[in-house]
Symmetry: C3
Subunit: 136 residues, 3 copies
């Protein structure tokens, strides 16, 4: 039997319901929808990195990465990245941040596929990202 492991980086706030920030089973790793919350602090409610798309995009990507790494994966293993924005006008700026971020990460394999759609998100949140990874 292959075990399913919950991936819970120490930096992450407690999920608001009965779900895992990430799970890995065999070579499949799924990251739950992450938002731009700063690393958790005891006794403080989840707090976004800032009000701007730029701040939230970088923090969200860092939060996804922490879960990939908790499961022994890296961005190189990411197959699909789903980006949820709240405003079509944020697409160009998000892409700029996204490109700069991944250039810095120094991928050694092709970048993941991606879908970006525009949805509603809780007040104050401008971006949410989840990811599917396949490990070696």
């Amino acid at each position: 039997m292959t075990e399913k492991t919950a991936l819970t980086p120490k930096t992450h706030t407690t999920p608001p319901a009965a779900f895992s920030h990430g799970v890995r089973k065999g070579n499949i790793l799924q990251v739950a929808g992450q938002v731009g919350f700063l690393p958790a602090e005891d006794g403080k409610p989840p707090t976004p990195a800032g009000p701007t798309l730029a701040e939230q995009t970088l923090q969200t990507l860092a939060n996804v990465k922490a879960i990939l790494e908790e499961g022994g994966a890296s961005w190189d293993d990411a197959m699909m990245i789903r980006v949820y924005l709240t405003d079509v006008d944020h697409f160009a700026e998000m892409n700029e941040m996204y490109d700069a971020y991944f250039e810095e990460q120094g991928l050694t394999q092709p970048p993941a596929a991606r879908t970006t759609v525009y949805v509603g998100l809780p007040k104050g949140l401008l971006i949410e990202i989840d990811a599917l990874a396949v490990l070696d």
Copy 2:
């Protein structure tokens, strides 16, 4: 060659187009977007379990579960659950239902990852859920 099997619980209404309620191929099982329709009755159009979020949430989870089980899986195998709501104000109530439901299910493995976003759905439907599972 690994076969792809359609998963069609007897309780389910016919899909409105050329898609399967669920498919399994090897150890991967994908559940299509489910809504809160009651078990199908001959000659009756698909009917939601009720107008409320609570009624629809529980029926939708039951519909997802039926497909997992049709494919030889259980909630313990679920890696990712995608929840689509129509109203950010429904988040807290959906989470309450979700937590109570999964507590009752008696999971023996960590809960699946999850993403919740707010989208449009056909009139009268307040929630849609799909799921990806990896079997042993």
Copy 3:
């Protein structure tokens, strides 16, 4: 080590950011969100097949198919197809196109699972589709 391969059909426009139109790793193939852009032409910006849902739906499905085939897969390998529409009133027409399209494709295995939700998309685009496939 299993390699991740980028799938880039010659007909496709360059992605607007650091993502792949599709990736394959082992037996998992993920197609990025496709829209109804016509085959790329040097020096021309990406151009939708037309303003109508019918035109865009068929072109989008063709674009997804090209990526599946670039990765050695076919519609028969598709496990999940995610359809993003902008208007609930487009559901019936999309389904008609979808059914007719897949009847023509002559699937030899059950159709993929599917989720359809209603979101915002960039101006002029009425449909976006992505897909997950599992190969033999």
